[in-house]
Symmetry: none
Subunit: 233 residues, 2 copies
């Protein structure tokens, strides 16, 4: 998915130019022409980066900055401040509220785009949470959550670990012994058949109505995470 950049600027011509250049770079763009709108828009479509004019109607850039920092979703969004003046105090204040970069008008469009790219690149890893995906299934290690097709799925601890194990090695078939060893741990002894039960529960939780079964049973061998039930590749 394309990263979204929000432009907060009241000067229409500048907005047009910014939008043109950013979209050419492959970013999605949202805009707001005053502070209040900025907060609203950010709420509806959380941006991955913000270009924020210092002087705005209805709410100063500095205040917008604070508002953005308050919400968890936009807390870590990189912000580039635009200002007409180049006074030191402004710069300081901007940095204080949490702007990540700062440009003085007039500025060169290529440079701005470059900075946006830099900020996005830098911000990525901080947001990069450990999560695995397989098809329409997502397993989030931080939130300890699994979803399929956008819908959250509840799993018990063991099913969660089992799915994680399979998602880390999709396509590979594991015997019950291997699964017991990898998921339950090497020191635990339980009946190998117990695996069957957990596989069943995993299937039941994952396979809602129409969706296909992602777990493949391989007779006499074990199970694997596999999109196509048995069909040829």
């Amino acid at each position: 998915m394309k990263p979204t950049v929000m432009i907060v600027e009241d000067e229409a011509s500048l907005v047009t130019m910014l939008r043109y250049n950013l979209e050419k770079e492959g970013y999605a763009v949202t805009e707001a022409s005053d502070g209040e709108e900025a907060v609203t828009v950010a709420d509806e479509t959380p941006p991955d980066a913000v270009i924020l004019d210092w002087m705005l109607p209805r709410m100063s850039g500095i205040e917008v900055c604070r508002q953005l920092r308050r919400k968890p979703e936009t807390r870590h969004v990189p912000i580039i401040m635009l200002t007409a003046r180049s006074e030191e105090t402004d710069k300081v204040r901007g940095l204080n509220v949490g702007a990540d970069d700062y440009m003085t008008k007039p500025f060169s469009m290529p440079e701005l785009v470059a900075r946006v790219r830099a900020l996005l690149r830098r911000a990525k890893p901080s947001q990069a949470k450990g999560q695995l995906t397989f098809g329409d299934i997502t397993l989030d290690l931080d939130a300890h959550r699994v979803s399929r097709g956008g819908r959250y799925v509840h799993l018990g601890p063991t099913e969660f670990r089992l799915l994680q194990y399979l998602m880390e090695r999709p396509g590979t078939v594991f015997s019950r012994e291997e699964l017991l060893n990898g998921v339950w741990g090497p020191d635990i002894y339980v009946e190998p058949r117990t695996v069957d039960v957990h596989i069943r529960r995993l299937r039941k939780a994952l396979n809602t109505d129409d969706s296909i079964d992602v777990i493949r049973t391989v007779r006499a061998a074990g199970y694997s995470l596999d999109a196509s039930g048995d069909a040829a590749a």
Copy 2:
């Protein structure tokens, strides 16, 4: 009440001059001659502004800055850095730790006083600085207050910190150990089960009648701040 300005400076003659000029302007003045003292004094008499020498015995100005930013009471106090050098790197480093302004020795007394006045003036309205929100919950770090849906909620110190910790990293699941470490501190030893009790108290305080539970229990993993218990996205 007169605004208090703390002077952190080891050169006695300069301190005298500063004190004289500031008091003439109507400010109360506290002083510290080294970094450690600065932290102590700030603790006893939270200043409204700080004049901080870059070079200090026992603790660098930069470190003092950090210490001040760490405590909620002094987190947002405007700080003016004084330095003998005027190198850009120092400047940048100073700003990075959160200094609000920057003056190079030697400086004119009237200018310093003017800057102090400016900082105090603009620090006033920005009282509403540190606050976190999650859904209809607001945690105000300045007022040390929590409200849900506009209604104030009373929390004990530990519950407050626990909530703050969770709100700073919404969605992420934390084990009891992690919470003990992050909220209680790395050196404190209490039963991991104690976390349960505080979670319960937090829930009881937060969840009035109709409102939904924002704390998710993840069996065998821990707790997280999370709007939807298990529902769809």
